[in-house]
């Protein structure tokens, strides 16, 4: 009873915090300019150790030297994936809503040495059909905003 009374006395008020950004991509600006304007994926290659970074890094984390831009084909291989039946992303961040379930994958893009986190879409594929080893290719969205959601991946049918 005491507990009930206490709870009845609680007062709650709404608050909302919003921070707006015009965010500079700095040394990796070229990646998003090429995505937005030219539908072209780029990676960065270290001139010293040869590692190809995608997501790109303007400086190699092993060697601390500036990297060189290299174009990628937009094709790759799924290393691991999960079928998501629940979406937690803040909707303002997402210009394009996901249909549930959607597939989150770690993709090794052809020509890159690192894993790339992204979504794979397929209306036809049943759960489990897209898995480690599945070949995928990039699909570009319209309009593009200069964000990683300007593209996604679908199974590569070889065409």
């Amino acid at each position: 009873m005491q507990q009930k009374k206490k709870e009845a006395e609680i007062f709650e008020a709404p608050y909302r915090y919003i921070a707006d950004y015009l965010y500079s991509y700095g040394e990796i600006s070229k990646f998003f300019r090429e995505v937005k304007d030219n539908k072209q994926l780029y990676a960065t290659k270290c001139p010293q150790c040869g590692v190809v970074w995608c997501p790109p890094r303007g400086f190699c984390s092993h060697c601390y030297v500036p990297t060189d831009w290299v174009p990628l084909t937009g094709k790759g291989t799924v290393l691991a994936c999960t079928y998501c039946y629940f979406e937690a992303t803040g909707e303002e961040q997402l210009p394009h809503h996901f249909d549930l379930p959607f597939i989150m994958a770690i993709i090794k893009l052809d020509g890159a040495d690192t894993g790339f986190l992204h979504t794979v879409r397929s209306k036809e594929a049943k759960m489990g059909e897209i898995k480690a080893g599945t070949r995928v290719k990039i699909v570009w969205r319209e309009p593009r905003l200069g964000k990683v959601v300007d593209f996604y991946f679908v199974p590569d049918d070889g065409k």
Partner: protein
């Protein structure tokens, strides 16, 4: 280096929402409990270190300074650390260093997080508000825009490739682990969820990120927890049951698993364990430990971390669950508190709760959840939501 012991703990129950207490009052409640447990006054605390990772949860940047004032510690050093769901370990680790160095004699480690004041006006749900409010913890350019929930991300980076590479843990083994922890939480006075679920119930619950199901995901809670640490000289004056911090290890790992070879592993946990074992003189953890509390942020991470903690070989973690070894009645109980899936979880606090829990186990004063203590050693493992920050702390009593 001076030896350091835990001399007091303060806990409060995990709840889906502590509406009747502000984060300030929650901080005071567990501070008071820890001081009472140690029979100390606040004047005897030299400095406070705060485990608070997410400012958004307190609706406030720099919340530590307001708690510091509220609990009457003004004028003393107050240090705040953020290491997500491993924050309690990082703060204990740092307090140990500060006391061992001789800088301070008695320190309060305090974690407070109140995620359930978040609210989604769109869906009228605190849970949705929480997920939306804290997802900016993930990397901003590459991960946030495609963020699928921590459970799905951790499943993707660890369980799915682990299953592929090492053949375990199977969905049934993981479900057994979840059922174990749910069962363990029932007699725990601090636990949030007290339901008996079978492995079948777990496997048949809603899929969050395949193969992880709803009952295999951590809860979302409000909570606070505190530990008081002291130098050897002070600890022996304060208590008859000092619980020594005999090993600490932390490891920061890339949060986006760029390195392909690391997929399916939680190598940071292994590195942290190796460092803590070396410091504590542990060579055969399976034989030298009485109890483990760890972060089952998804249930699959528990058996995978059995492997990273070198309780068994890679690929054998699931079989420990099959054999019942980590049950409360087994030879090495893991998560007798009920773990994150049933006792409760809020980053920066639940790993301090784990430490409180193991400290009380070693004192043989853990109400409802006590396991037999024969070797006098317990271990706490912590990871953040994607196993990028990892920490292991070893506690032991006088033998």
């Amino acid at each position: 280096m001076r030896r350091v012991a835990a001399v007091g703990v303060g806990q409060m129950p995990f709840r889906s929402h502590w509406a009747e207490k502000s984060y300030l009052a929650m901080g005071m409640e567990v501070t008071k409990k820890a001081l009472d447990d140690a029979h100390l006054t606040r004047d005897e605390i030299d400095a406070v270190i705060y485990s608070i990772y997410c400012e958004m949860m307190e609706r406030q940047y720099r919340p530590a300074q307001f708690i510091h004032d509220y609990i009457g510690m003004s004028g003393k050093p107050g240090i705040r650390h953020d290491a997500a769901a491993a924050g309690g370990h990082y703060t204990i680790n740092e307090a140990v260093v500060m006391i061992a160095s001789g800088m301070f004699d008695v320190m309060l480690v305090l974690g407070v997080q109140k995620g359930q004041d978040f609210y989604s006006f769109e869906t009228k749900s605190r849970g949705d508000g929480f997920l939306k409010g804290m997802y900016i913890s993930s990397e901003g350019t590459w991960v946030q825009p495609v963020f699928p929930s921590l459970a799905a991300l951790l499943t993707l980076m660890t369980w799915v490739p682990h299953l592929e590479k090492y053949g375990d843990p199977t969905p049934l083994q993981v479900a057994k682990g979840s059922a174990k922890n749910h069962r363990n939480a029932i007699p725990n006075p601090y636990a949030q969820l007290k339901i008996d679920v079978s492995p079948e119930d777990v496997m048949n619950s809603r899929i969050i990120g395949w193969p992880t199901t709803m009952y295999e995901c951590c809860l979302m809670s409000d909570c606070a927890a505190a530990v008081i640490l002291a130098s050897e000289e002070r600890a022996k004056q304060i208590t008859d049951k000092p619980i020594w911090v005999s090993g600490c290890g932390v490891s920061n790992y890339p949060s986006n698993r760029l390195a392909i070879d690391d997929l399916g592993r939680m190598k940071g946990v292994n590195m942290a364990a190796k460092a803590a074992y070396k410091m504590a003189g542990i060579t055969k953890p399976m034989e030298q430990l009485d109890v483990i509390e760890m972060n089952d942020i998804i249930s699959a991470s528990e058996p995978m971390c059995y492997e990273e903690l070198e309780l068994c070989k890679l690929g054998e973690g699931g079989s420990l669950l099959d054999a019942g070894i980590t049950e409360k009645t087994g030879s090495l109980p893991v998560n007798p508190s009920g773990g994150r899936v049933a006792c409760g979880h809020v980053a920066s606090v639940s790993d301090l709760m784990s430490s409180c829990s193991v400290i009380l186990q070693l004192r043989e004063e853990a109400p409802g959840i006590q396991v037999p203590i024969k070797k006098g050693r317990g271990l706490v493992e912590g990871i953040d939501g994607i196993a990028a920050l990892s920490a292991v702390t070893v506690f032991e009593r006088d033998r």
